[in-house]
Symmetry: C2
DNA sequence: TAGACTAGAGAACGATCGTTATTCACGCAA
DNA sequence: TTGCGTGAATAACGATCGTTCTCTAGTCTA
C-alpha cells in the first residue's frame, strides 16, 4: 500500500492531536462525574480511567475546574442535540411540545440515570465559585428559550413555554430522587392539559 | 431575688442540657450548610460559629454525617410546618391547593434563598453514601403524600396531586438557578388550569 | 486543703485533595 | 556511540479534610 499516512503537520505543531486527546478525555470522564459528582472524583482517578498522565492532563487543561467546565459544555451539547432530534421528529404542533416529555421518559429509564447533571452541579457547587453556576444558568435559559421558540411557532401564548419548562424540570428532579420514570408520564399528562388550554382559549390580552 | 435557678437534675446526669446544646448547634449550623453546601463547611468552622469545642461536638454527634442528617431532619420539620401553616390558612378547597405556590413565592423572595435544600443535598451527595439520599427521598415522598391528602379531601382525582408536586419541584429548581421568583407565579397559573380541569371534568375511569 | 475527674483549647494524625517537581527510559541527529 | 530532549510514571508538596489526642486549668467532693 502507498505510504500516505496522516501525520501531524510539523508547521502547526501538535494542537491537532491535542484536540482529539481533549475530546477523548472529556468523553471518558463525563459518565464518572455524572455518576458520583465532581468533588468525589479526584485527578488521580481521571488519570487512571483516561490513561493520560497527570503531566499531560495538566498540559491539556489548566486545572480541574477547566475540565469540569468542558464536561458541562459537552453535556449541554448532547442534551440540546437529543432534545432537538426528538422535537423535530414530528411536524404536528401539539406533539412537538409533548415530545419534550417523551424525551424525558426515554431518558429516565436509561441505565445510570441520576437526574439532571446541571441541577446536580448547581446543588454541589452552587454555593461556591461563580463559574459553574453561570454555566448551569445559561443552559437552563437556553432550554427555556428553545421551548419558547417551539411554542411560539405553534401559536401558543407566551405563558405556555415557561409552564412547560417548569413541568420538565419538576419531572426531572422528581424522577431522579424517587428513582422512577412515572413523573415523565404525569408531567406529559399535565402538559397536554396546559397546551389544550393555551391553544383553544385565546391568549390573555391586557385590558384597555 | 430568691435562688431558684434551674439546675441540671443530678439524677439523670446531663442529657437534658446535651439536648439543648444539640438543638442550638443544629440551628446555628443549618444556614451555613444551606448557603454553601455540606462539604464546603468543615468541622473547624462549625466549632467557630457554635462556640462548642471539637471535643464536645464529637461527644454530642458521633460524626459529621450525623450532624448533616439532623440538619436535614430539621429542614424537613420546618418545611412541613411552614407549608401546613400556609395551606391551612384557608378553607376554600381550591385555595388550599394553590397555597403551596403562594408559600413558594414568599420563600423565593426571602433573603439567601438558594433552592430546595433537599434537591441540593441530593446533587451534592446523591452519588455517594446512601443515608443522605434516603432522607431526601423520604422528604419528597412526605410532600407528595401530603399534597395527595389535600387534593383528595378537595375531591380531586388521584392524578392531580402528582402534577402539582411536579410543578412545585420545577418552580423550586427554576427559581433557584435563575435567581428569580417568577416561576412561583408561572407554576401557580399552571396549577389553576390543572385544578380547574381536574375538578370540573370527572375523574378518568378505566374502560370496561 | 488535697485529689480525682471534667471540659476546653488547640496541636497532631492520617488520609486525600489539586498541583508540581523529579526521575528515568527511550527515540533521534551528529 | 553519544548527548539531547521529550514524555510517561510517580514521588512529593502544601493545604485541608474529619477525627483524635494532649495538655492544662478549673471544679467539686471528701
Amino acid at each position: 500500500m502507498t505510504e500516505v499516512e496522516v501525520r501531524p503537520d510539523p508547521a502547526d505543531g501538535v494542537p491537532a492531536e491535542d484536540a482529539v486527546a481533549r475530546a477523548m478525555i472529556i468523553e471518558t470522564v463525563s459518565p464518572l462525574f455524572y455518576a458520583r459528582g465532581f468533588t468525589a472524583v479526584g485527578m488521580d482517578e481521571l488519570r487512571a480511567v483516561t490513561g493520560v498522565s497527570l503531566k499531560r492532563l495538566y498540559r491539556l487543561f489548566p486545572s480541574k475546574e477547566d475540565i469540569i467546565e468542558e464536561v458541562l459544555h459537552s453535556w449541554r451539547d448532547t442534551w440540546e442535540a437529543n432534545l432537538r432530534a426528538q422535537v423535530e421528529s414530528t411536524q404536528v404542533p401539539r406533539e412537538r411540545l409533548l415530545a419534550v416529555f417523551d424525551f424525558l421518559a426515554a431518558w429516565f429509564i436509561s441505565e445510570g440515570f441520576r437526574g439532571c447533571a446541571f441541577i446536580n452541579s448547581f446543588g454541589e457547587l452552587g454555593g461556591i465559585s461563580g463559574r459553574i453556576p453561570a454555566i448551569v444558568r445559561a443552559q437552563k435559559k437556553e432550554f427555556q428559550d428553545y421551548l419558547s421558540r417551539v411554542a411560539t411557532r405553534v401559536g401558543a401564548p407566551d405563558t405556555l413555554a415557561p409552564q412547560l419548562a417548569i413541568l420538565a424540570e419538576g419531572a426531572l428532579t422528581t424522577a431522579a430522587i424517587a428513582g422512577s420514570a412515572e413523573p415523565a408520564r404525569q408531567a406529559r399528562a399535565a402538559a397536554e392539559i396546559l397546551i389544550d388550554a393555551a391553544l383553544t382559549r385565546p391568549a390573555p390580552v391586557t385590558m384597555p
